[in-house]
């Protein structure tokens, strides 16, 4: 059933405008729920097919590749498709939340439309085998995510969305220039074709410039330190549900794109052998791990704290990539999956808190452990995952990263990975201390657990525990993708 390949993108893409027509809050909610679950089912079926019978290729419009646009599904992007669609399927039931601008104006359908468009864009970036198509879908997802961010609770969301738009557009333009230069050198946009032709022209300056533009453009979208400045504002001003979705999918798709361009298109030999990307990316990753965590320690708002923690976590992923070894890359890819679960779950917990407290400031969390016990417990479990405590998903990714570091005979690197994890203990302990060891304000009214966001949050947090113990599925698929990327047998 190769017809599933286009449906992965087409279902959410065409559902988005229908959602705009529905207008009614409940119809739009039920309809978009059905759509994201159908999309998730398609991604499960695709991964099953790819693992069973190898990569799928699909010729859009019947025009054979490399002339037409090709959609290509292999182990790596089937895995990423599953993550993106799965997170959407869990996050969307939480709804937009009553505080957001869309709900205040009674225009929730705007949220659902933008959400579906963003989902379609992210899936499109992942599934396509055509470099220019990557740019088109990247713009679809970016434009939709600017709208989603601007739906935040107050007017500061507009400023955050606007600066995100400026930075995101610069990133998108860099990617387009990179693709254009690669096209100029090879005369093709098909990724497989590019991979076959680029090695012949690697001594040309244009090829190197193309790679530089692509790397920096993707690094902006990925929020690699020091290009991360848009991320804290965007994630802390957006509605918490949007932060959950974007933090779990947006940077992940950018990471996939970097892996795709580095390993399968330009080739690890060129990128690490001739250009020494690791010499730049590794120090930046380590800086992100430390500075992101240190910045998180000083935040006074829960959403900003998690946003800075995201920058540190992106550092772990790019560190895995810069090791250019099977273990390191496995660590990076499996952290893509694990961090999506953890950060998605944690931001959904924030959505629960915001729904009841109407605030995400840390000082308002005093005594939360007694007022919302399930929510607080979920936050603590998710936090343990961020630290990398054994038994949680975060441990699995750090395990592979440390293995990768030891494989390079770099005890220092392994030490730094562990040391930076301790910083996560510091910023998470502040919340535990406030929530469990301080009494709530005397005049605080008793509150119930949140309504719609609690179950999705618990599902994701429970998944971090599940994939912390049963790793053969998550780490297994990541490992086979890493082996394939490093040129080994599938």
């Amino acid at each position: 059933m190769t017809q599933l390949v286009p449906l992965q993108v087409v279902i959410p893409l065409l559902a988005a405008p229908i959602c705009l027509l529905l207008r009614d809050r409940r119809y739009a909610y039920v309809f978009s729920l059905a759509v994201v679950w159908a999309t998730f089912a398609v991604s499960v079926a695709l991964l099953g097919q790819v693992l069973g019978s190898g990569p799928l290729s699909y010729a859009m419009g019947g025009w054979a590749p490399p002339f037409g646009i090709e959609y290509r599904v292999d182990t790596l992007n089937a895995f990423v498709l599953l993550i993106v669609a799965g997170i959407a399927a869990v996050v969307l039931p939480a709804g937009v939340g009553p505080g957001s601008r869309a709900a205040q104006d009674g225009r929730e359908y705007i949220f659902y439309t933008a959400f579906l468009l963003c989902l379609a864009g992210l899936l499109g970036v992942t599934i396509t085998g055509d470099a220019f198509n990557v740019f088109v879908f990247l713009e679809i997802s970016s434009l939709a995510s600017y709208v989603l961010v601007s739906l935040g609770d107050d007017r500061r969301a507009f400023v955050a969305a606007f600066s995100y738009l400026i930075v995101g557009t610069i990133g998108g333009t860099f990617i387009l220039i990179g693709i254009g230069l690669a096209y100029q050198m090879t005369g093709t946009l098909n990724m497989e074709d590019l991979a076959a032709r680029l090695p012949l022209v690697t001594d040309q300056r244009t090829t190197r410039v193309a790679f530089a533009f692509l790397t920096i453009g993707i690094a902006i979208k990925l929020a690699v330190f020091p290009l991360h400045q848009w991320l804290p504002n965007a994630y802390s001003q957006a509605p918490a549900v949007v932060s959950a979705f974007l933090s779990a999918t947006g940077t992940k798709v950018a990471y996939y794109l970097l892996v795709r361009f580095v390993f399968t298109i330009f080739g690890a030999g060129f990128v690490f052998g001739a250009l020494h990307l690791d010499a730049i990316l590794m120090p930046l990753s380590i800086a992100a791990m430390f500075l992101g965590s240190i910045a998180a320690i000083y935040q006074t708002d829960l959403k900003r704290l998690l946003a800075y923690s995201s920058i540190a976590q992106v550092g772990y992923m790019t560190l895995g990539l810069s090791m250019a070894s099977i273990d390191g890359l496995t660590g990076g890819i499996v952290h893509l999956f694990n961090h999506a679960l953890m950060k998605g779950g944690l931001f959904l917990v924030v959505a629960c808190v915001a729904e009841r407290l109407h605030s995400t400031r840390l000082v308002d969390l005093r005594g939360l452990g007694r007022r919302m016990p399930i929510t607080t417990a979920a936050f603590v479990i998710g936090g343990l995952g961020l630290i990398g405590v054994p038994g949680t998903a975060g441990f699995v990714s750090k395990w592979y990263l440390v293995l990768g570091a030891l494989e390079r005979d770099s005890i220092l690197l392994a030490f730094l990975i562990l040391l930076s994890s301790l910083l996560a203990v510091v910023y998470l302990w502040r919340i535990v201390e406030l929530a469990y060891f301080q009494a709530p304000d005397a005049d605080a009214a008793p509150i119930r657990e949140a309504s719609s966001s609690l179950i999705p949050a618990c599902v994701l947090i429970a998944a971090t525990l599940y994939f912390g113990i049963f790793t053969e599925w998550s780490a297994g698929v990541a490992r086979s993708a890493a082996i394939w990327l490093m040129g080994g047998p599938v």
Partner: protein, 158 residues
């Protein structure tokens, strides 16, 4: 200061010229739309030309008059219908057993005719969406702040 629409009423040359000009702008837009598969042009360009004609109307005769011709709600529906027309052609070719957007299957006898029909419908979808979105953007920006605050002394000086 009187509203812009009232001041515009005195500009006889602008009113007369644009009134006779707008039909030709729209006609040219349709030409670019439907001749797009034989010559230069296509849905995007045609959409921009048609929208430019309507925006000219809105500038000369006022936003309210333009909203009588094309209500704001229509622009939203148009934007949606265009996308769905484009995607619907793709979905139809999927249902007919081909690949997404494979126009060959749209005509069971003559693939060439199918290609022709496919590109015509898809470009029509593009045209409708582009026209609607251009007008929508103009409405949103031009309608911003109209009647939101009483004119101040600074406005009167200008």
């Amino acid at each position: 200061m009187r509203p812009l629409a009232m001041r515009m009423r005195e500009k006889v040359v602008l009113r007369v010229v644009s009134r006779s000009f707008i039909p030709f702008v729209l006609l040219f837009g349709f030409y670019v739309q439907f001749h797009g598969d034989f010559g230069p042009g296509g849905g995007f360009q045609a959409g921009v030309i048609v929208a430019a004609g309507l925006i000219l109307y809105a500038m000369i005769f006022g936003l309210d008059a333009a909203r009588l011709v094309v209500p704001q709600r229509w622009t939203e529906i148009g934007a949606v219908v265009g996308v769905l027309l484009y995607g619907g052609v793709g979905a139809l070719s999927l249902l007919l057993g081909g690949n997404f957007l494979d126009y060959n299957l749209l005509d069971s006898h003559d693939p060439m005719h199918g290609q022709h029909l496919g590109i015509l419908l898809v470009e029509l979808g593009v045209g409708i969406t582009v026209t609607s979105v251009m007008i929508m953007i103009y409405y949103v920006f031009a309608g911003r702040g109209v009647g939101a605050r009483p004119p101040t002394a600074a406005d009167a000086e200008r």
